[in-house]
């Protein structure tokens, strides 16, 4: 995904879908990460499946004139294309599995592998079901990832076991495959999609009268919101629920798509600010809003979203891989060690050596560690300490296990939300300024400086992010360290600020408005040049 976005940004006219090698590479990264992560619960499976489904759905599927002209049946072409698409979808899974085996850190992930393959079947076939006569993806094809994600989310909410999930996926895949096979025609058509796919009954309407009834902003809506954005919105909610604010930055990178789509409006008598807000609303504010909504998700009886263990760092290499410690916690609650990490001692003398990880040459430890060998009393004591930090109140381990008590996390409450949103906006705006630097009209004469700025703003942050995922995620189970480090700073800042939330809001607004002003100034002085891409 990241590679796709990077390539899309650096070479806007490069259609990655036309390049199978790049597509495989683009899929390889998330699949290795997801599978290597070890699929904590079902979330990992669905995240991997969602990525597979999304990329599967955009795989090129239209028959070429060469293919269509061959004296072979439609089913032969379909099978050839299908095998090719499967290779793209399944290869990363196999490679990721091989990576795990090579690292020898986990048992063979048979369930995850089978689930991914079945979901690939669904992802590859479902888009083709919409209009098999053309072997192509129509508008309905874009819904596929959402459908697959919906099935996945349903299974997760219903707490399906691995066996049940596998049964559901395999039955779905077989049914879909059979249905598709029966519908494949003898010959495919090359007629333009938009002309042949459907008859539009509204086309007989009087256009002027229809314009009388139409609101002006319909064009803005259709210009700014691509169907893929619906998928992004779902992802924003999910990531918000998991406390993964970094998705927000991905949304900002994806602004390039919105930027290009709005290019035709340059000749319109619209102010710079209006056009900037047209870009920011779908590409910037909407994902942020949905991330905030996701962060507030709290389903009684299902404590995954506000769980004390949300995005917890695994115990890979320090404990049995699948030991599910109740005091595992995300990286923002880990402490930095000064020198050797001392054992943690309970008031009654029981001690435990805390889990440690090494990030950026520094040692961090989980001050709430309770190991498999720890006593129940010790675990309960640590759990109370942990929940005091996470929720602001001490919770009994038993109540939490029963799902009776799962209050809202402190960092989901308004005060921390204000700080989080302000930080996300400042980082997002800065990122956008960096990306927009290349469009500043004075940049054209200084290509070297532009290159340096782009590296600083684009390559370095994304490179560091990828590095942390690979270096700390694969080796130490700490997938997400950058955002928690920032979150930790905000949590430290919060008590320093006045207790009134309105004052905090005013405090947070200052840097946001300052950076926004810079962005607006830059946008006013930016220009779109180069070939006009297809939208």
């Amino acid at each position: 995904m990241t590679l796709y976005l990077l390539l899309h940004y650096w070479k806007p006219n490069l259609d990655i879908r036309e390049n199978r090698t790049l597509l495989v590479l683009a899929m390889l990264v998330p699949m290795i990460v997801m599978v290597t992560w070890g699929f904590p619960g079902t979330v990992g499976v669905w995240a991997a499946a969602g990525t597979t489904a999304m990329l599967g759905a955009i795989t090129p599927q239209r028959p070429t004139r060469f293919e269509a002209a061959l004296p072979i049946s439609g089913r032969d072409i379909a099978i050839a294309r299908l095998v090719s698409a499967f290779a793209v979808n399944v290869t990363p899974i196999l490679l990721a599995t091989a990576t795990i085996v090579a690292f020898n850190r986990a048992p063979f992930p048979a369930f995850e592998l089978a689930a991914s393959v079945f979901i690939s079947v669904l992802a590859v076939l479902l888009p083709r079901l919409v209009n098999t006569n053309q072997l192509t993806v129509t508008a309905g094809g874009g819904v596929t990832p959402i459908l697959v994600m919906g099935i996945a989310a349903g299974a997760a909410i219903l707490r399906f076991s691995h066996a049940q999930s596998l049964a559901l996926l395999s039955v779905s895949a077989v049914a879909v495959g059979a249905w598709w096979w029966r519908r494949v025609p003898e010959a495919f058509q090359l007629a333009p999609l938009s002309v042949s796919s459907r008859v539009d009954h509204s086309s007989d309407a009087d256009v002027s009268s229809a314009a009388d009834r139409t609101r002006w902003w319909h064009v803005i809506r259709t210009t700014m919101f691509s169907k893929m954005r619906v998928y992004n919105c779902a992802l924003a909610i999910m990531m918000g629920a998991m406390g993964m604010w970094q998705l927000y930055l991905i949304s900002v990178i994806m602004m390039e798509d919105v930027w290009q789509r709005a290019r035709w409006m340059q000749s319109m008598p619209l102010s710079h600010r209006s056009r900037l807000w047209m870009l920011l609303t779908p590409g910037f504010f909407l994902p942020l809003l949905l991330t905030i909504i996701g962060a507030q998700l709290h389903i009684p009886g299902h404590d995954e979203f506000q769980s004390v263990n949300r995005s917890a760092i695994g115990t890979m290499g320090q404990e049995s891989r699948y030991f599910d410690s109740p005091t595992s916690v995300s990286f923002d609650y880990w402490e930095q060690a000064n020198g050797a990490v001392a054992p943690i001692t309970a008031p009654w003398g029981e001690t435990v050596q805390p889990y440690v990880i090494h990030v950026f040459n520094r040692t961090y430890y989980n001050p709430y560690t309770a190991r498999k060998a720890s006593s129940e009393r010790f675990t309960a004591w640590q759990f109370e300490r942990l929940t005091t930090s996470v929720f602001g109140v001490p919770l009994a381990l038993k109540d939490h296990d029963d799902g009776q008590l799962n209050p809202r996390r402190l960092n989901a409450q308004p005060r921390m939300m204000i700080l989080n949103v302000a930080t996300a906006l400042v980082i997002g705006f800065l990122f956008m300024i960096g990306m927009g630097f290349v469009r500043w009209h004075k940049s054209w004469a200084h290509q070297t400086i532009v290159g340096i700025v782009m590296v600083v703003f684009m390559v370095v942050p994304i490179g560091v992010w990828l590095f942390t995922i690979v270096a700390y995620g694969m080796r130490q189970g700490a997938m997400n360290v950058l955002v928690p480090l920032l979150e930790r700073q905000l949590m430290n800042l919060s008590p320093v600020l006045p207790s009134n939330n309105f004052v905090v809001l005013a405090f947070a607004a200052v840097p946001v408005l300052a950076v926004y002003s810079l962005l607006e100034w830059q946008y006013k002085n930016s220009e779109m040049v180069g070939p006009v891409p297809k939208v």
């Binding site: 938009s194 309407a205 256009v207 002027s208 064009v219 789509r261 008598p269 009209h441």
Partner: protein, 305 residues
């Protein structure tokens, strides 16, 4: 009384790479009601010039004024008085024609609904509220033209507007532009590679070459007062001698002769060449397309050897 200036370029330069200017010192102006054709080879800077006029690009040197205003400083006020159609203008593919019209009605308060209905009728789109992506290339261009002209702009800017259209659609498009607007005093600035279009629209031609304005002349004057001289190479060995001759607009090498475009009638040019080089050159008036090819076409580098 002189009509007011609506477009002024004063020593405008613009580049995309350092020290490689696309436009370098372009100066010209345009009065209300004028029709001006921008000519030039690919990458001559026609689109850049138009984008500068639209405020979609910033000049690196010089000033651009549209209706006396800077199009980058006051873009809204300027664009409200301009209609714009370009070959690479990609309208939102999933929007319907009615939605595009509703949007433009909202933006332009002086939108002429009667003209909108007339054009829809004329283009055969009045009962076809299709999405942009469902339209043919020509129809999509017609929608763009409709959106560009129904607020009755004072300046219509067309960047290769008829590129890629078949001859009938091309003529329909251009006639609409001219008939509907120029008769009412709208100025038209358009770029085109098609000399037939240029001759049909008439008015004034500006030829861009090497980042500069090479020719700025009324079309009629250009046709009447220029001619092609074919000069044997044995009589003049150095091409620069021809280029330095008074009235020479450009010269290039042929197989065994030089081809040069001169200002003046064929007899005048013939006399001039006879006097200077003592050679009897063939001089004749040529069509606009030939003139264009002679001025900017051919392998001039080879000829300069």
């Amino acid at each position: 009384m002189t009509p007011p200036m609506i477009l002024e370029f004063n020593d405008v330069a613009r580049s995309y790479k350092k020290d490689k200017p696309v436009l370098d010192g372009v100066t010209f102006s345009m009065q209300a009601g004028e029709v001006v054709a921008l000519l030039g080879r690919n990458a001559a800077g026609k689109t850049t010039l138009i984008n500068l006029a639209m405020g979609m690009l910033f000049p690196h040197r010089g000033t651009v004024r549209v209706f006396g205003m800077s199009p980058t400083e006051e873009p809204v006020a300027v664009k409200k008085r301009i209609g714009y159609v370009s070959e690479d203008q990609v309208l939102p593919p999933t929007s319907r024609i009615s939605e595009m019209i509703a949007f433009h009605r909202y933006l332009y308060k002086n939108w002429d609904v009667a003209l909108e209905k007339e054009l829809l009728q004329r283009f055969g789109l009045s009962r076809n509220d299709a999405k942009i992506k469902e339209l043919s290339k020509g129809q999509a261009r017609q929608v763009a033209l409709l959106c560009a002209v129904c607020h009755r702009p004072e300046l219509l800017v067309l960047d290769e507007p008829a590129g890629g259209l078949d001859p009938a659609a091309r003529r329909e498009f251009l006639e609409t532009s001219i008939q509907l607007l120029n008769r009412e005093g709208t100025a038209i600035l358009f770029s085109s590679h098609n000399m037939g279009d240029v001759e049909r629209l008439g008015g004034r031609a500006i030829l861009l070459d090497g980042g500069k304005v090479r020719i700025d002349s009324e079309l009629d004057a250009l046709r009447e007062n220029t001619c092609l001289a074919v000069i044997p190479q044995y009589a003049v060995t150095n091409l620069s001698d021809i280029r330095n001759l008074e009235g020479c607009l450009g010269a290039r090498g042929g197989t065994n002769e030089w081809h040069a475009i001169f200002r003046g009638s064929p007899s005048e040019v013939q006399t001039r060449l006879q006097t200077k080089f003592n050679v009897s050159a063939q001089c004749q008036r040529i069509p606009l397309e030939e003139l264009f090819v002679e001025l900017v076409g051919g392998d001039r580098t080879a000829a300069l050897k």
